[in-house]
């Protein structure tokens, strides 16, 4: 079966939420919309405190004076109401970042001037791209890279392959799976719209083998449309971009490179769905599917939640248990532990995981068992990385390919000495960046 080398087989824990249909969550009384929910240039608010806003209205745009403003995505109001505050708030990505807070007036009235429902076949590639950009769509698998940038490769890069990442390899998460089950035709439509923007003929859908029903539905929906639905081995991180590309096409993205260096663009399931909503119905990205799961909630579920909805609202809807130890934005392998329940759902929030058991384990010296080396999907030597970082040896840190690590967590998962390797990698990357900046300064000076 198609796969990559390395990786791990944790129990996927998807049984908790996989049978829970997507359920629209009522808009909360207040939404908190961070101005930076994506990779790239942050937005600046286009509204003031006290302004009346309506659903779908742009409230944040990339700073027009920033030369790199193309790499950004506008933020829209997810409810109608009044701007209650523009201030820093905690977000899933940082302890404090500029946010626009909107008091919901309960009207849920759409803004004027949004594009009307259109037959997408009447739009050309540029028209589709414009709608995607204006709708503020970003990669919704977690990395949140602006989608219109991803589908605008530099002219010298010829893209011949588009892959829909339907692996959803993170344990617990089922929101992509529910979209596949409930809206397969919409996903295929969104995917083909993306293909049209780049004039790509080779279109794939990569599904992990633990979702055969979803693969079958997609296959039926894609029948006769020139889309290949391929089943990949169940193995984490099958949904990592480079690993999925390799599993399907046998192409290896060069180190430090991007998928477009091998002629490939990968899009996530939820992104394809959002693209279809934006292009056909003119709807900006104001809600997304979010899985709430883990042993810390009574009723694991998959919600369609408005962006800006506080985690607290989703957790209360699912029956938050007492004695919870850890709350994670995203999946258990790459998600971010949260210190507050008041952070909002943002464009990249695929799930909220609530765990009752979590301990900061004591770690030991590396015993050279080699498990991390076998598990690393990037062919790195995580043992050497961890030893270099633990010793704060910057020369060694620069020699062990830290920058090729995408922090999938396989090494740390398998480590019998419980070494926090991913944490060291994050720290090491920051240290090396600091060092490079210093060196550059010295050169200039």
């Amino acid at each position: 079966m198609r796969t990559f080398s390395g990786g791990i087989h944790p129990h996927d824990c998807k049984e908790l939420a996989k049978d829970k249909p997507l359920q629209p969550l009522p808009p909360p009384p207040q939404v908190v919309l961070p101005m930076s929910q994506h990779l790239g240039v942050p937005c600046v608010p286009t509204v003031k405190k006290g302004d009346a806003v309506r659903k779908g209205q742009v409230i944040g745009q990339p700073d027009p004076t920033n030369p790199r403003r193309f790499v950004s995505a506008p933020v829209h109001a997810s409810v109608s109401g009044k701007v209650a505050a523009i201030e820093p708030r905690p977000t899933p990505l940082s302890t404090s970042a500029p946010c626009v807070v909107i008091e919901n007036d309960g009207q849920d009235a759409w803004a004027d001037g949004l594009p009307a429902e259109t037959d997408p076949s009447s739009l050309d590639a540029a028209g589709i791209k414009t709608r995607i950009q204006e709708a503020g769509i970003v990669g919704m698998g977690g990395a949140a890279f602006p989608t219109h940038v991803k589908i605008s490769p530099p002219p010298e890069k010829r893209i011949d392959t588009l892959i829909l990442n339907a692996a959803e390899c993170e344990p617990y998460l089922t929101c992509d799976y529910r979209l596949m089950l409930e809206r397969p035709a919409d996903l295929v439509e969104g995917l083909l719209l993306l293909a049209r923007t780049m004039d790509v003929k080779d279109v794939w859908i990569g599904v992990e083998a633990n979702k055969p029903d979803a693969a079958e539905l997609l296959r039926r929906a894609a029948d006769g449309k020139g889309v290949r639905v391929e089943v990949c081995k169940v193995k984490y991180p099958q949904g990592a971009e480079k690993q999925l590309i390799y599993a399907l096409t046998r192409r290896k993205v060069p180190t430090g490179g991007l998928p477009l260096d091998v002629g490939v663009v990968v899009q996530n399931v939820a992104t394809a769905y959002a693209v279809r909503e934006a292009v056909r119905f003119g709807k900006p990205l104001i809600e997304r599917a979010v899985t709430v799961s883990g042993d810390g909630v009574e009723r694991p579920a998959n919600y369609l939640a408005r962006l800006g909805t506080p985690f607290r609202t989703l957790l209360e809807a699912s029956g938050l248990r007492s004695g919870v130890r850890k709350i994670i934005s995203g999946g258990p392998m790459m998600g971010i532990a949260q210190s507050s329940l008041d952070v909002p759902v943002i464009k990249g929030t695929s799930g909220i995981l609530v765990l009752q058991q979590a301990e900061a384990a004591d770690w030991r010296a590396c015993i050279s068992c080699g498990r991390c080396v076998e598990a690393c999907p990037m062919g790195l030597m995580p043992n050497e990385i961890s030893i270099a970082c633990e010793a704060r040896n910057h020369d060694l840190m620069g020699a062990v390919d830290i920058l090729d690590c995408f922090e999938c967590g396989c090494c740390t998962y398998v480590c019998p000495a419980k070494r926090p390797i991913v944490h060291w990698v994050k720290w090491g990357k920051a240290e090396l960046a600091k060092r490079r900046a210093q060196q550059q300064k010295q050169k200039v000076g």
Partner: protein
């Protein structure tokens, strides 16, 4: 509803990550960990060795148990004492000191006087392991270094005296089947190990004490003479395999060691390549490499005349290949490195056994390859996904 805790800064080191009880724990991803742990590995390997220990008590008598207890107790005490002295957490509960102590016992003869196992164990844990920084930092396999140390200190007690039980007047009936030399009674008490017997007899023969074997005058006769010596001094294969023979405590029963080894391979605690390639290399080379047979004035090198099965079942090879060479800390990290390590161990074992001064080569072979582990690691790093080879 849990209280809230401020985030740790994004560039905080792992040392800074902690959480007060009852608050939300904020640590780096991944938030899932496999149930595998150092204690689980160490205790499982220890358990895999227990059948072989039981057999040792069966053939060598309670003295084997006493010696093992001395080794384990001194190992644990040494580790705990040093960790306490250094103000480090005491980690003897993780099973690593117990396992090291057990392995020290396994490479010593059952009736060595009490101070031999104790010295071996203290040296192994104190000097070889803790002095280098404790578990994970040692360069050499502690148990084998313990043996090497006492072998240097009290060679006669460790090598030639390594045999049948005398303690408590206990003697197992299976030993009645033990091969009897001309001096059966003495042999049965302190006879040489199977490997030693053959080596000694060959040395005597080459030195001129031919006994009943005719002096070879050509290559064919040399081959014939060797065959005769092998037949007279050889131990039946089933005795070797099932441990009805002399030797160190843990090494005699290849069958039980093999069984435990299979379990470790199945649990993925060791890779099959290590024992298979180590034992395979010994098998091939001990069959192929030449044996010198002294004729009248001429020395004949007899090729392809070794006894591969006897060589792999005798001595400490199974113990070494499944439990010592595979020691995670002192063997290479990648499978490719382990393949090189295993073949190197096999080559050195045969060279020492056949051409070196000792009858047994496993101990020094593994220790020498331990020394080579860092350099093997350096040249067997796996290649980064998507990285083009440097020009």
């Amino acid at each position: 509803m849990p209280d809230e805790q401020t985030n740790t800064a994004s560039d905080a080191t792992p040392e800074a990550a902690q959480a007060a009880p009852g608050r939300l724990l904020v640590t780096s991803s991944p938030h899932l960990r496999s149930p595998e742990s150092i204690p689980r590995i160490m205790w499982t390997v220890t358990a895999a060795l227990l059948p072989a220990l039981a057999w040792a008590v069966y053939v060598f008598g309670p003295q084997a148990l006493v010696l093992t207890a001395i080794c384990v107790a001194s190992a644990v005490a040494t580790e705990a004492a040093i960790q306490r002295f250094r103000g480090k957490p005491i980690t003897v509960a993780d099973g690593s000191a117990v396992l090291s102590g057990l392995l020290v016992a396994f490479v010593l003869p059952a009736h060595a006087p009490w101070y031999v196992p104790m010295t071996a164990s203290i040296f192994a844990l104190g000097i070889v392991k803790q002095l280098f920084g404790g578990l994970g930092c040692n360069v050499w396999n502690p148990a084998l270094m313990g043996r090497a140390f006492v072998l240097a200190a009290w060679a006669p007690l460790v090598v030639s005296g390594s045999n049948w039980p005398t303690a408590f007047g206990w003697r197992h009936p299976a030993l009645a089947a033990a091969p009897a030399g001309p001096d059966a009674q003495v042999d049965a008490v302190t006879g040489p190990t199977p490997l030693n017997r053959l080596k000694e007899r060959l040395r005597e023969f080459n030195a001129g004490n031919r006994r009943n074997v005719a002096v070879p005058t050509n290559a064919n006769e040399a081959r014939e003479a060797l065959r005769q010596i092998q037949a007279e001094e050889g131990t039946p294969l089933d005795d070797l395999y099932f441990g009805r023979t002399g030797g160190c405590i843990g090494e005699v029963n290849a069958a039980l060691l093999f069984l435990g080894g299979i379990v470790l391979v199945a649990l993925n605690y060791i890779k099959w390549q290590m024992p298979v390639l180590y034992i395979g290399t010994v098998m091939l080379l001990s069959w192929a490499l030449p044996i010198a047979v002294q004729g009248e004035g001429t020395r004949y090198l007899v090729w392809f005349a070794g006894q591969p099965l006897a060589e792999i079942f005798a001595g400490g090879l199974f113990l070494g290949a499944f439990y010592m060479a595979t020691d995670m800390v002192t063997s290479p990290v990648t499978t490719r490195g382990q393949v090189m390590f295993a073949v190197g161990c096999g080559l050195l074992t045969v060279l020492i056994r056949r051409y070196g001064g000792y009858p047994e080569g496993v101990c020094y072979a593994i220790l020498l390859m331990n020394t080579a582990t860092p350099i093997i690691n350096r040249y067997t790093r796996q290649s980064v996904f998507g990285k083009r080879p440097k020009k």
